[in-house]
Subunit: 245 residues, 2 copies
Amino acid sequence: MIPTDTHLQIGSLLFEGLDQIDLTGPFEVLSRVPNSTYRIYGASPEPVRDVRGLRMLPDATLRDAPRLDVLHVPGGHGQEALMRDAAILGWIRDQAAGASHVLSVCTGALLLGAAGLLVGRRATTYWNAVHLLPFFGAEPVDARVVIDRDGEDRTWVFAAGVTAGIDGALRLAAELRGDEAAQGIQLGIQYAPEPPFDSGTPGTAPPAILARARAAAADITARREATARAIAAELGIRVPGGDPR
Amino acid sequence: MIPTDTHLQIGSLLFEGLDQIDLTGPFEVLSRVPNSTYRIYGASPEPVRDVRGLRMLPDATLRDAPRLDVLHVPGGHGQEALMRDAAILGWIRDQAAGASHVLSVCTGALLLGAAGLLVGRRATTYWNAVHLLPFFGAEPVDARVVIDRDGEDRTWVFAAGVTAGIDGALRLAAELRGDEAAQGIQLGIQYAPEPPFDSGTPGTAPPAILARARAAAADITARREATARAIAAELGIRVPGGDPR
């Protein structure tokens, strides 16, 4: 927990083709953290379109961001186009270096990986990308939210896919401002979920539905794998049985 | 369930001061409904700002909307400013008349009420506004999602506050395209929530936290009550013990 009289700068990265709820889920929580400024940062001031078409605007550009205390990196298909983007990866690396807390949601974790920030971390990501974490030097953990602390007193919060960002952000809010603050936010957003089906993970979804989801994602998954292998080779990471080329 | 070869027009209402996840939660689900077109409609083409500052753009204006099969009305503090807006209420009334399914999230239900659409309905809304439903002629139901069907074969899905829109939209997706389609969407968005606390409802939140939340919302609650009483009088609705003036 951070002293309550310390004002926090909290920032989310916005990019074309993100999955919007990777950002808007945590937004709902992080924008309500007491004594904080929450802003969304984009490469340009223009609106971006999420993977399903929602158009959102950043509050400021990356270069206008202050040193952030809390960095939030969402994911979504558009993450793949940024895995070689030196400006974005450099911004992530610089901001993570100065932050006390870093939150990734879904395949936002792969962006942290491409920035070289996952080496030695325990982490998670979208269920269909968890197998890629070792290519970035991370140990995959089968949990909806994984909290890891590094030797520099920095806290890493990794949320699994998409809607897991809400759970991750609430955990983060508790890290920042204590359990009562997080509970107040939870009541404010009436977060007492009742999923109508038990189909939210590969282990619980009906097998035919899982097979269809994997097939529908085959293209993006193959591209992510190829990128992860190339980055592993550059980082000098040996993946057990992974044969990075 | 609607025949799978019937293309569906699904639309969300966007307005200044909405609570963004009332829209973006259902967006995540509704934008993935098979054989459908999903669009966001605003009074103007300009961006709007949600209650915490997120800027979003509509896809089209209200007047450009086709007849919708599925109408989605979000809530949030900004709803209060629309309770006397004849253009918005008229659009809601017209679209609801032509729709087969109507979804409200949070205090979006009060907009349906102001449009005269809640008379005789079983409904729900944000926990801090449930007591207002009788002023609009509705019977409040203590559930996260309430499904009501009217005599014209129209299905009404009422989601409670804020994040309940995700649960409501999944229920709606199942109504539209069957359980398997909804389960596929649920897996796609990895919706297997794990709230870190049990503090998402007035019945589960610690009493001190509930008291603080009620106090913080006292102003908007008072304004909503005054509006609800006035509308009840206009609609000729007698509220038991409510003494509408």
